[in-house]
């Protein structure tokens, strides 16, 4: 079998998998539970706000965005990880975490004009989905060593 110095392709593949698991643990695990719940609630509020008319979206964003930033900073301090601007999540992780919520909000846009309560339902769903995904993926990453 062809090898490179002392490293076979199988060993290289195993090493890459190990590195990937370590990165996933940093991306997902160690967050305090309140980070997922509070951020989910903030996103839920924004999901509701986008259905409101005019400047309401900006007014909500002006309050919610700094609050989300403060929550993220506090969570980073609590878990002992300073992520910087890029974060540890891969584009795939980000899609898993935010993708369903964005699709839900897009699907709600035409519906909310006819059904008054749909934006409220979507806000609750967005909160629950974000918090649920974060908590579940965090627990899963913590289990994989």
């Amino acid at each position: 079998m062809e090898t490179y110095g002392q490293v076979s392709p199988q060993e290289a593949a195993a090493a890459l998998e190990t590195a990937q698991r370590s990165r996933a643990r940093v991306a997902w695990s160690g967050y305090p539970w309140w980070y997922w719940v509070a951020t989910g609630a903030g996103l839920g509020v924004m999901a509701y706000a986008v259905a409101l008319p005019g400047w309401w979206v900006l007014a909500f964003a002006a309050v919610v965005a700094p609050a989300l930033y403060a929550v993220a900073r506090a969570a980073g301090r609590a878990r002992g990880v300073c992520e910087g601007w890029t974060g540890a999540m891969t584009p795939r992780d980000t899609a898993v975490l935010y993708g369903p919520e964005i699709l839900l909000m897009l699907a709600d846009a035409p519906v909310s004009e006819h059904v008054w309560w749909s934006s409220i339902a979507v806000a609750v769903l967005v909160s629950a989905m974000f918090a649920g995904t974060g908590l579940a993926r965090g627990a899963r990453a913590a289990r994989c060593s």
């Binding site: 490293v7 370590s22 940093v26 999540m89």
Partner: protein, 110 residues
């Protein structure tokens, strides 16, 4: 890409960027954890990687001696803690090593 580094084992693999110092499993995990973030507190790194204090400390010393990581002391929750981060050279070496591993794996598929 960085050049191959002839270290501990005294062998130089044929793939550019392959780094024996980083390739040790624990050190690879440490670098993989540090690469996507700015810095991680020592105790958190211990918990995240499931490595006990003494071996983790030794591996970080090896990486620090090579200029791949730096450590700084700072207060967190009213206690002095050690924060660990990859240097630019360490990040470049780690990414070069990962690229080398991908090249090795890819060579079997082509």
């Amino acid at each position: 890409m960085t050049t191959s580094r002839d270290t501990e084992h005294g062998t130089a693999p044929a793939v550019d960027g392959f780094d024996h110092l980083i390739h040790a499993p624990a050190r690879l995990r440490i670098c993989a954890a540090l690469d996507p973030v700015r810095e991680i507190e020592f105790g958190t790194l211990q918990t995240l990687l499931g490595i006990s204090k003494s071996p983790l400390s030794k591996h970080i010393s090896v990486l620090a001696d090579a200029g791949y990581v730096t450590q700084r002391r700072a207060v967190r929750d009213t206690r002095q803690r050690v924060w660990v981060r990859l240097t630019d050279a360490g990040r470049a070496a780690y990414r070069g090593h990962v690229a080398a591993l991908q090249q090795i794996v890819g060579s079997t598929r082509t």
